[in-house]
Symmetry: C2
Subunit: 198 residues, 2 copies
């Protein structure tokens, strides 16, 4: 095997979920059938990693000063949705009709890993809440231990600034079967039951 | 979402088995945690696609005139193993102690797709068999309909040139259970049973 091919296979393993076998398959696929697409990928990848930084306002990824959402004139600036990652923001954007703006933590509070309020840009968030435009902060961190801790911290921050904190509903997923829902979720859903409207 | 990020996600879909969701995850992973590795990948990918061509002798991928196997002085030039793809060659190289040389068809006979002897470099193979150095041609095309047809064609070619053609053994895989082996394989294995030595 040529050493450049070995290097290519090794480099492809930087992709998430790609091991030796998959990297081999990808390298051969690109060499055999997708030379043009592969060259295009190499160019876009280099440019993207070079030019994509963080939005000055919401910390999401963007190639400019502001991301498309923050720069848009048609978004509601009274609602701010806080998410852990750009992928979470994208999921909310694709699934819901939310028209407010976002704040991307790029992580969650995790003191053991050295991730505190500073690393998540919470001073920036706090200053923004203090500006008085935002009335509701929708906290959409993940329902994990660390995500919940982050949510409580954020809620406190919001109340201090006179902003109403809210949290995504937790419970049984739509289309799920009770039998297969984990105990914690079921227990929470049971405790948080709501009266049915007539 | 920034348009450069969209372009990156779109470009990643050129990789085999990578759809929209996986491409998103890869793009975010590279931007969040693997900027250096990603830049390295972009560079190696561009260089590999630019410089990797085919070995003059065996048609395998290589960045030089000859691949490492063809250039090696320690390989046995009396045995020639014919495979469909570079990945097949690599699999044989990794699994067996084979010390001969290879010929990579880069495909299989498939008249309906316009792939005939010329596209597989069979004139080149034929000339090489005619040189008289090779005594055995091990045909390792896949046990598919097209692979078998190719194998028969190759065997004929070898016989015409006075070279002994051989074929990889087919049968029940080691560690497999008869119950789960497909009918065709089982029938073949039954018919090709061999006497056990004492």
């Amino acid at each position: 095997m040529s050493s450049l091919l070995e290097q290519l296979i090794e480099s492809l393993r930087v992709l998430p979920g790609v091991g030796q076998k998959t990297a081999q398959r990808m390298a051969y696929h690109l060499l055999e059938r997708e030379r043009e697409g592969g060259k295009h990928l190499a160019g876009v990848l280099a440019e993207a990693l070079d030019r994509i930084g963080h939005c000055r306002q919401c910390r999401d990824f963007t190639e400019g000063e502001l991301c498309a959402v923050c720069a848009s004139a048609s978004r509601d600036r009274q609602q701010l949705c806080v998410v852990e990652s750009p992928a979470d923001r994208l999921a909310i954007e694709q699934a819901t009709g939310y028209r407010g703006v976002y704040f991307v933590l790029q992580g969650r509070l995790s003191p053991l890993d050295g991730i505190g309020p500073r690393e998540l840009g919470l001073d920036q968030l706090s200053a923004r809440l203090g500006e008085g435009e935002i009335t509701e902060m929708i906290i959409a961190t993940n329902p994990t231990v660390e995500g919940e801790a982050t949510a409580h911290y954020l809620a406190q921050l919001a109340r201090q600034r006179g902003v109403k904190p809210s949290r995504l509903a937790h419970g049984v997923p739509l289309g799920g079967e009770l039998e297969y829902v984990d105990r914690g979720t079921l227990s929470h859903a049971f405790g948080s039951r709501s009266e049915m409207a007539e």
